[in-house]
């Protein structure tokens, strides 16, 4: 850590990890309600549990991005942050807003647009926090060295904040409501967040592999170009059956197919950089998470996304467990794992230690990734059966669900592994242990 102000990232990462724990515990509870539906049904019904699960996810990912920006921008810009105090004020607003939202949900006060259920005052809080953040980061970048990494990172963060405006726009016409809703949801995860992801990945590669900045930055521009060229019109894959014109079927199918390219490019980029890099960076856990994130993102977003994106397929799979399978692996690979890569890289330095607890951290990678992969598989099987029975044969929804109990049990098991992995990760970051590399007995050649 070269600059004092990078330290604010630490507070962001701590809050993010706490919410991560809440998110996966909420998910596990939701998964349990699928297995045993009477659980808490009068006290905290499924819809509230689900809101807590998805909202906690989105907020902690954003906190991770903010923290990552506060960590890497000073190094890239070669100067201290514009204002450390503003960064803490921003965090305080977000924490108050988050707690406020949780309490509101539990007492039954919430909006009714999926993922955007926050009460209006919380939405405003998020807007104010975003503005503070943008001012703080932009002032730092403008005053310092400009690099492709900060360029792309800033552009992503500015655009995603601008898109947040659509969280306030809720037309009475349901089809219009749905169309503009996707401006936040799709244009976040399949456009602007990809810029943030690419910038963070580029930074990590630059630091850990020692490859030339020129090479990294050129790759980055190519990656983000393919992301926006495909992702913007790719929004059409959600404009198929909500009252929008028929031409979106072809526009959506074609451009969202191209959306696979940036995810493939990010995976290739990560592997090529590691392969070409001469540096042998000691933080093996951060390297594992970086490679893992870009690989799982390719499968979750690229492969599982393509699986149901052509309109001839989506006509049958739309809104089934196939969607849930894809949503989980895509979010996990692209944004959860990339955040955890950044945490793994930055935490040892923020805490002034050398890489620590590498083994536990790496074990948590395999546990979480294995759990998410298994969950994705079982939900894909459940969704395939659901699609066939409900959409082709025409059996009634609830009758079909009754046939899927086994898959939901396995999903719960997979979820338990993910929760264990997440707790292990947090433990490995917080409970610092010395890297025990006791000198072993001098190897003696065989007899």
């Amino acid at each position: 850590m070269k600059y004092q102000s990078q330290k604010v990232a630490y507070a962001y990462f701590l809050v993010a990890m706490a919410l991560f724990a809440i998110q996966v515990l909420g998910g596990l509870l939701a998964g349990w309600i699928y297995v045993s539906p009477n659980t808490l049904s009068e006290l905290v019904p499924f819809n509230v549990v689900r809101m807590l699960h998805t909202n906690a996810l989105i907020v902690w990912l954003l906190l991770g991005f903010f923290g990552a920006a506060y960590y890497l921008v000073p190094e890239e810009s070669e100067r201290e942050l514009f204002s450390v105090r503003l960064a803490y004020i921003q965090l305080a607003i977000l924490v108050v807003g988050t707690l406020g939202a949780v309490v509101s949900y539990l007492v039954g006060i919430h909006g009714g647009r999926e993922f955007l259920e926050q009460p209006l005052w919380v939405k405003f809080g998020i807007l104010v926090a975003a503005v503070i953040f943008l001012v703080n980061i932009s002032m730092t970048v403008l005053a310092g060295r400009k690099t492709a990494i900060t360029n792309i990172l800033l552009m992503g963060l500015w655009l995603l904040s601008l898109l947040w405006i659509f969280a306030f726009i809720n037309p009475d016409n349901l089809s219009l409501d749905k169309m503009y809703w996707w401006f936040v949801v799709h244009l976040w995860v399949e456009a602007t967040w990809e810029l943030v992801m690419a910038a963070i990945l580029g930074y990590l590669m630059l630091k850990m592999t020692g490859v030339d900045r020129e090479v990294v930055e050129k790759w980055l521009y190519v990656i983000v170009a393919t992301a926006l060229f495909s992702g913007i019109l790719g929004t059409g894959h959600h404009f198929l059956w909500i009252g929008t014109p028929g031409y979106w079927q072809w526009v959506g199918s074609i451009f969202s197919t191209f959306e696979v390219i940036p995810f493939f490019a990010m995976m290739s980029f990560a592997f090529v950089m590691v392969w070409k890099g001469r540096k042998n960076h000691p933080n093996k856990a951060a390297l594992l998470w970086s490679l893992g994130a870009s690989t799982v993102a390719f499968f979750g977003a690229g492969v599982w996304g393509f699986l149901h994106t052509l309109h001839g397929v989506n006509f049958y799979t739309h809104g089934t467990q196939i969607t849930a399978a894809h949503g989980h692996l895509a979010f996990y690979g692209a944004y959860v794992a990339m955040n955890l890569a950044m945490f793994s890289y930055a935490m040892p330095q923020l805490r002034g230690r050398d890489p620590y607890n590498q083994v536990l951290n790496m074990a948590s990678f395999w546990l979480m990734t294995g759990g998410m992969a298994f969950m994705t598989f079982v939900l894909t099987f459940a969704g395939t059966i659901q699609t066939h029975m409900q959409r082709i044969v025409g059996d009634y929804y609830m009758d079909v669900q009754d046939q899927l109990g086994l898959f939901y049990m396995m999903r719960f098991g997979a979820g338990a592994a993910v929760v264990l992995g997440a707790l292990l990760f947090i433990y490995s970051q917080l409970v610092v242990r010395r890297e025990v590399i006791a000198p072993g007995p001098i190897a003696t050649p065989g007899e």
Binding site: N47, M51, G112, I232, L233, L240, I242, G394
Partner: protein, 150 residues
């Protein structure tokens, strides 16, 4: 390749191309907006009752269990075509009565069956909700869902 594709060239392609796609996207959205208002949802007027129903739908956060036009949660049945399934698409009074009867019977309390909560909804709101669901059902969704099961 490295001579043709320099960093600054890659950057310019990125900015220029993105701007191009944003412009195309905005133009298509404007057209889609008008298409929705004038064509696909024009089958039934967007009355105050429908508006009220939409607010009730949101207040109860139905979307976090059900899908509506295939979007939402996957815990409970599709409701974008529920009025068709109940055979009351063109019958406001029947729609209200079916919906009211259903909502009052929740939660079912049946062991091992997914539970729908009880909501405090006035009669006026319930009528609005029924109208909202009828309104949604008459939207031209390019013939989705494939069948009445939703």
């Amino acid at each position: 390749m490295s001579e043709i594709l320099t960093k600054s060239r890659a950057r310019n392609v990125f900015y220029g191309g993105s701007l191009f796609f944003v412009v195309v996207f905005v133009a298509m959205t404007v057209h889609s907006h008008r298409y929705i208002v004038e064509t696909s949802t024009a089958g039934m007027p967007l009355t105050d009752e429908v508006r009220l129903g939409k607010h009730v739908w949101e207040r109860a956060s139905c979307i976090n269990c059900h899908t509506l036009h295939g979007e939402g949660a996957y815990f409970a049945p599709e409701v974008g075509n529920v009025m068709t399934r109940w055979g009351v698409l063109d019958d406001p009074e029947g729609a209200y009565e079916m919906l009211d009867g259903w909502m009052q019977a929740q939660p079912s309390g049946i062991e091992g069956r997914r539970q729908m909560p009880h909501f405090d909804i006035t009669e006026e709101e319930m009528r609005g909700l029924a109208e909202f669901l009828r309104w949604a059902d008459q939207t031209d969704t390019q013939d989705w869902p494939p069948n009445d099961a939703g």
